[in-house]
Symmetry: C2
């Protein structure tokens, strides 16, 4: 791994069911959509590994009913013997957990997280003792509905799983995490944490805030009577507006500079066209540029757009 890793080639996983598990005791703190899906996928892939879940009692009960975890508790002390710890709570909770992890986990372990922002969690991991090796992670699987009830073992299949190693990351630790992510069907890649937060602010956080702002403004201005006249265009453009508030306070707070810059760019573009609505050429130029990027996005995603 270079000092400033970007996109590394995809590792082809060994699909041999007899292969020994990459980790023997996997503790997952936070059993929402992502944590729950990792739990389900890990149990499916390595029946001999122990999957330890940490969450509130009612979430644990639902996780147990779905056979997502072998062991569960509402206290991270249950992760004492883990050799992999996955922090899958909202970012601020992950950061808080990092501060207490050395008390709970007794031996050597790899520690990763699944948060949508990476710099602040990485900085917080500096408190960990040498026996706990932290590498930030961000699986890009997502779904319209959150929570353990919508967790699926195939959530990560064919989707990127980003890791943010630093110059201090032991190459063999990154290798093991790549093997782990590959075995769950994902395409692991390394990316610089700063670059990660810059890109995530644009491809994920900006569309989310734009969709929420759009839905709020339109709802407030036209009410249900107006919404009744809308079509699939509005429904699609605002699909993300159903995202629950829960995790977004942390994401915005821990990526404020990049999200702010991305919002500024969008606001600038909206103000530019707002000042030229009667100039056909300005409007058409915006549509032409958007058309071209949309076609490239559709080509990349292999869909019709």
């Amino acid at each position: 791994v270079s000092d400033n890793p970007r996109f590394l080639p995809i590792v082809q996983p060994p699909r041999d069911a007899a292969a020994p598990p990459v980790f023997g005791r996997i503790a997952i703190v936070g059993l929402g959509l992502i944590g729950g899906s990792i739990a389900l996928a890990a149990r499916e892939r390595w029946p001999s590994s122990l999957v330890i879940g940490v969450d509130d009692k009612d979430v644990l009960e639902r996780a147990m009913r779905r056979h997502a975890v072998d062991v569960g508790a509402d206290d991270p002390i249950v992760a004492a013997e883990a050799d992999l710890v996955i922090l899958a709570a909202p970012v601020a909770q992950n950061i808080e957990l990092l501060g207490a992890l050395a008390e709970h986990v007794r031996g050597s372990a790899v520690v990763t997280d699944v948060g949508s922002t990476k710099r602040s969690t990485l900085a917080a991991a500096a408190v960990l003792p040498a026996r706990l090796t932290f590498v930030g992670g961000h699986p890009l699987g997502g779904a319209a509905r959150q929570g353990i009830d919508h967790a699926r073992s195939d959530l990560f299949r064919g989707r990127p799983w980003l890791f943010t190693p630093t110059g201090a990351t032991p190459p063999e630790t990154l290798d093991r995490l790549f093997l782990f992510a590959s075995a769950l069907g994902a395409e692991p890649r390394a990316i610089d944490p700063v670059e990660h937060d810059r890109i995530a602010a644009r491809i994920s956080h900006l569309p989310q805030l734009a969709a929420s702002a759009l839905m709020r403004v339109i709802g407030d201005e036209v009410g249900e009577e107006g919404l009744a006249l809308s079509g699939r265009g509005l429904a699609d453009t605002t699909r993300l507006a159903s995202s629950p508030a829960g995790i977004w306070g942390d994401i915005c707070a821990t990526n404020e500079d990049e999200i702010g810059a991305a919002l500024d760019a969008l606001i600038d573009e909206l103000q530019r066209v707002r000042g030229r609505l009667t100039e056909r050429q300005a409007v058409e130029e915006l549509f032409d540029a958007a058309n071209e990027w949309k076609a490239r996005l559709a080509r990349i995603r292999g869909d019709q757009g």
Copy 2:
């Protein structure tokens, strides 16, 4: 019809195939997605009516191949005997056509249009002689792909078809247009033209411009390498960014005040959250408000959101 009509009750159409056509000679100027779909639906519904198409020769050829029109020409003179004229070109062309219509159409006729903005076309219709009765129209059927090749006779089924009568509109003319739209499967409603443009700016024009601006900004800032990491959220939020530039110059120019006000409201909301990214409460308040409107929109549309 009152002087300031809003939403009138839906007329239940007589679904009797033996019913006489509402109009006997229907001229459609502009055979794109909407004009072409009206042509296909009218021929299907009333085999005895004559459907006259006006467009460029290559579009006409494709319309003929799809059996969308009985008669076609690239000159509106072919509409001489029409008793219904539907202007289905971009708004500026419709306005230009209104100025020349009295030369082309010889007898009495009802004239309507299908444009996304209504005030400017209505104002331009003031030049028509008394024998040509104009009522603005806006069928809300839409599809991801434009043009006669994607026209479908069921495009309007179950979708609102708005008409914008004024105090001068003869009630029997509005009745005939309601019957016409109902027979094509749509749900006709009357709406004040000013209110139409206000609502259309919010539920249609604003999401379109936001999606296009978002796609352009994100593409410019992260490039294909960044887009490759995006998920369904970005794809959905920017679905409208594939809309062709063609008709949007006219829409923006003829609804500039309302679109400008809608853009201002969105920009204000984005600026508000931009200034409070580190305040959990401000972020969560936006998400909660958006969640609520999104749930109401999903309920109205009868879908999962």
